[in-house]
């Protein structure tokens, strides 16, 4: 016997809030991407808990797709970050936005 499903949901929600906090408040693109990873992981936790709650293996298959999407997202995101860093020499979202907008006439 493990805990009730609501406790798993609560853990997942708290993780999600932490990730959102990280993505929203940090002024650094790498930390924003880390926050996105935390949020995806929180979703995966909720899915695994639901799979156990309803005894359906379907929930676990969703986590496989979450993993695939997370891997694709992080590779593209990091490539974009490196691209922007080489162009502008900064990781601050605001300054990158300013630099890219001033670059074009």
């Amino acid at each position: 016997m493990i805990v009730p499903y609501s406790h798993i949901l609560l853990l997942s929600a708290l993780l999600f809030v932490l990730g959102m906090l990280c993505a929203v408040t940090r002024r650094n693109l790498i930390m924003v991407l880390l926050g996105l990873e935390i949020m995806l992981n929180a979703g995966a936790v909720a899915f695994v808990g639901a799979a156990l709650r309803w005894q359906q293996i379907e929930g676990q298959t969703m986590v496989i797709f979450i993993l695939a999407v997370a891997a694709a997202e992080v590779s593209i995101g990091l490539a974009l970050i490196v691209f922007a860093y080489r162009r502008t020499g900064s990781l601050d979202p605001q300054s990158i936005k300013d630099l890219f907008s001033t670059e074009r006439p």
Partner: protein, 175 residues
């Protein structure tokens, strides 16, 4: 309270603590390492919740691939200067308000869900062989689409990387 419940709460505290530490670190390398620790905790949680294959995949993909990729990029870009992670006063107030609303909504939702049935979950394990067979029988098309997505991501990353190098060499030739 059974052993499983104690394990769950210990792992939950571990995950939340390491994630909170990771989120608040100034130094990017520290944040990445603590987040890897948090993903190890998630893998343990998956194992506890009856998903051994997912636990292994979490370690391999999240800790082994994604966090190492983060560490590579962090060491590549060598951030200098300030990391102004502070918000203005107005933003802090708005964030606190929205956070309180969100937490209240979550607590109400969990209460409502618990009203339906607050019974502790039965432990069950999805054997990796059973799980894999189910996955490839029922979701083969989605698996193909996911692999296609990864291929597209690979192509996109290659394009972004190549573009930079060509532009830089072009600049050097011009100067």
């Amino acid at each position: 309270m059974s052993v499983y419940a104690i394990l769950f709460y210990a792992i939950a505290v571990f995950i939340l603590a390491s994630t909170a530490i990771a989120v608040t670190r100034r130094h990017l390398v520290h944040a990445a390492v603590f987040l890897a620790l948090s993903f190890f905790g998630s893998a343990m949680l998956f194992y506890l919740l009856g998903a051994p294959l997912l636990a292994m995949l979490e370690v391999i993909v999240y800790v082994g691939a994604i966090m190492v990729l983060f560490l590579f990029v962090i060491m590549m870009v060598e951030v200098k200067g300030k990391d102004s992670g502070v918000l203005t006063r107005g933003q802090q107030a708005a964030a606190a308000l929205l956070g309180i609303v969100y937490v209240a909504a979550a607590v109400m939702l969990v209460r409502a869900a618990a009203a339906g049935g607050n019974a502790a979950l039965q432990a069950a394990v999805a054997e990796p062989a059973v799980f894999g067979e189910y996955l490839f029988r029922q979701h083969w098309l989605s698996i193909e689409i996911a692999s296609f997505l990864l291929l597209i991501a690979l192509m996109g990353v290659l394009h972004l990387g190549r573009d930079i190098r060509r532009r830089q060499t072009g600049k050097e030739n011009a100067s």
